[in-house]
Symmetry: C2
Subunit: 245 residues, 2 copies
Amino acid sequence: MAASSDKALNAPDLFSPVNVDRVSQVIVDQIKVLIRDGKLQPGDRLPSERELCQRFGVSRVTVREALRVLEASGLLTIRVGAHGGAFLTTPSAERLGEGLADLISLARMTAANVTEARFIVELGVLPLAVERATDEDVEALFAMVAEAEQALEGGTYNIEMSAAFHIRLAECTHNPAIEMLMQSFHGPMRMSIEESHLAAPMSRQGVEEHRRLAEAVKQRDLEAARDVMGTHLDRTAQRVGSTTD
Amino acid sequence: MAASSDKALNAPDLFSPVNVDRVSQVIVDQIKVLIRDGKLQPGDRLPSERELCQRFGVSRVTVREALRVLEASGLLTIRVGAHGGAFLTTPSAERLGEGLADLISLARMTAANVTEARFIVELGVLPLAVERATDEDVEALFAMVAEAEQALEGGTYNIEMSAAFHIRLAECTHNPAIEMLMQSFHGPMRMSIEESHLAAPMSRQGVEEHRRLAEAVKQRDLEAARDVMGTHLDRTAQRVGSTTD
DNA sequence: TCACGCGATATGTCATACCATCAGGCCGAT
DNA sequence: ATCGGCCTGATGGTATGACATATCGCGTGA
């Protein structure tokens, strides 16, 4: 009963704005807060699903949907078995890239588009990489080149190894944001390259250029690095699309 | 039953490598493929949960978990009610930025890191933007500046408007990949800027620089654009962190 | 000492039921 | 004839209970 016209209406701030969210979404938010506030650290294990049910006072279905969302967001991984459960992931740029790849593959975005964007980033990264690379970084780069050369002879060289080199190069900047950028590129890149089945022809030349890049970083020779990267990407561009426009 | 040693094992390629994934994950992948192949267009509505159960031959819980994942990935939104259901979203980096913000707050990624990465992208974008900007693009840029100046006087200028300008600038390249790059930056950027509550001081100068940027694009003066953008970002860098290092 | 197996614990999946929400049409009152 | 409320069907949201599967650790026997 009770007509809606009542004295208490004078306080418009009162009355619940109505619970509009899904319960599972509320749980997701709640856990996100715990993570953001540091109450939950990477590597920590959440209580089991059944226990979470009791704690939140909801059914297992609801808890599971919340966990799915968190898992899809890359915040945690779920392991089955005896001492399994939901473990907070150590935040890594890698996970971000995975999520990006989906959306990128959706957008009407050609391989040429991606390559062009990569052009910008890879060239832009060079000054910082050359400037900040530590001895350890240089060593790692050369190690990867050596490994690639071996794989080349054994016929096991693949796109992944090339991508790994470029990512490692970005890591020389010691800037996680830049690493993330590079990683998020190589998901879609690999996809579009695999589509055109053109990986093989460039292998030898590509590895050779990687070596020269490593050398340039070691010598802190920005000009040389830019040169090599330019031709390196140029050929990639010609392979993935007729032109980068 | 069935010792693993059996005559048929000679053909290792045969026999199912065993279904190792979650069923819900398989469904997710399957729908992603449909989307990527264009069988499902943005705006389309998936069959109802109950119908999907029958089609896939799984239970409703499983379908729902798959939908949660897809929803969390920003691929679709779900509406309840009579003509509700799962509708494909138009792919936009905007949604992505929201999801990224969570992870970025986790990653040991500072605002300074992001700003530095942005430095690379924004400067790298300029040559393409200057070269490819159409009259329409230029017009839009000036319109945004004018709007910003008005908002400035009214005191309603905010970060969003600044971000919108930079994104519009990236659109001048007419490369969706680059647009997405820029968009995915401004989500996290805004967050870290809001944290430090330092939005106000730069407003007037920032808008002024935006105008000069628009002017440079109109004149196709790459050098000028680079200059302005350099100082523009420099000041941003000083605001968000003591240093970009 | 090693290996096998069993059990405990966790997630993965299923089937069913019921509730909440929304759109549209039906129907009665004005 | 029009407006309002009510009913109904379609759909997502949640709860419950059960069984299947994966994994680790421990105990026991060879």
